[in-house]
């Protein structure tokens, strides 16, 4: 049994395995399939139902269950939602497992999974991954300005 509390190292090793099998494009193919297979019924539905507030609803659930160290801010009037991740539980765990080598582009799965879903609802998605080695990052999702 692979416990859900051990999923992150299993996920990271999965990315490594897929890259060995078919290169980076195989990893990206999997991310696309995972995004379509898991987020259409969760994140996508939440945005469909509540608009940008659905982002707050979706990540309220997942980030609390993942025991993340974060701040989420929703400004509906401005049409902006942001997550400031101070310690990502996934990357944090991989950093702590000193005896394992994480997948070299582990953090890139997040925009690969979320961005297409968010953008399909006419929102923009920007990520700042410049400090992801320290398990810190941020994302900003905005309603597109009407032209």
């Amino acid at each position: 049994m692979i416990s859900c509390t051990e999923f992150i190292p299993a996920y990271s090793e999965g990315f490594k395995y897929l890259e060995l099998k078919g290169g980076r494009q195989e990893v990206e193919k999997f991310w696309k399939k995972l995004s379509e297979g898991t987020l259409v019924n969760t994140l996508s539905k939440a945005i469909q139902k509540e608009g940008i507030k659905g982002c707050f609803t979706y990540w309220s659930h997942t980030l609390n269950e993942e025991a993340a160290d974060f701040r989420m801010t929703l400004d509906e009037a401005k049409g902006e939602f942001r997550i400031d991740m101070f310690k990502c539980p996934s990357k944090g765990m991989l950093n702590e497992l000193k005896y394992m080598e994480p997948y070299h582009a582990y953090c890139e799965h997040c925009p690969a999974l979320y961005k297409p879903i968010v953008e399909s609802h006419g929102l923009t998605y920007e990520e700042d991954m410049s400090r992801c080695d320290e398990a810190r990052c941020s994302i900003v999702i905005r309603r597109k300005l009407k032209t």
Binding site: M1, I2, S3, C4, T5, E6, F7, I8, P9, A10, Y11, E13, G14, K16, Y17, L18, K21, E26, F30, K33, L34, G37, T38, F56, S60, H61, T62, L63, N64, E65, E66, A67, A68, D69, F70, R71, M72, T73, L74, D75, E76, A77, K87, P89, G92, L97, Y99, M100, E101
Partner: protein, 172 residues
Amino acid sequence: MNSKENTADKSDKSAQGIIIMERKASDNKYLHKDFHIGLNHLMNYILDNFGEDSVRDYLRQFARAFYKPLNNKLRSGDLEALESYITDIYEKEEWKIKINKGENYIEIEQESCPGMSHLISRGEKPCPLYRETYTTVYQTLCENTPFDYVLVHFDDNTGACKQLFIRKENKL
């Protein structure tokens, strides 16, 4: 609910209509059962694109990397380390199991698998090779140790099973 219950519903609202939620890692228990769905998708993807042997190869790769410290303890014959590990992960999963143990073995019985149960509860079909998360993973954990792993029985519909870790010279 215990003191570490998840706090998804507790957000702080400001007067300007801006909603802020701020949490420390210590505010919540780390238990995101939907990760079982992610693993199931990964196994199905490997199965569909590369075949059964590749699923086992992947699980062996994971187990060799992740269980290295525990494998080292088992190499020295430390069965208590294994019992402690098993007890800990099932407690974290909040899942009941029955452990019988002796000097040379640990037997684990469960009425269903926490991963498979979560998948089914979410309308997902467990990967046809789900039992390999037991067999392949724990046989790999036992590599180059004095112990063997035997999946005595396993129900592919529920994950009800009996598992046995046994010192090799005591295996019938």
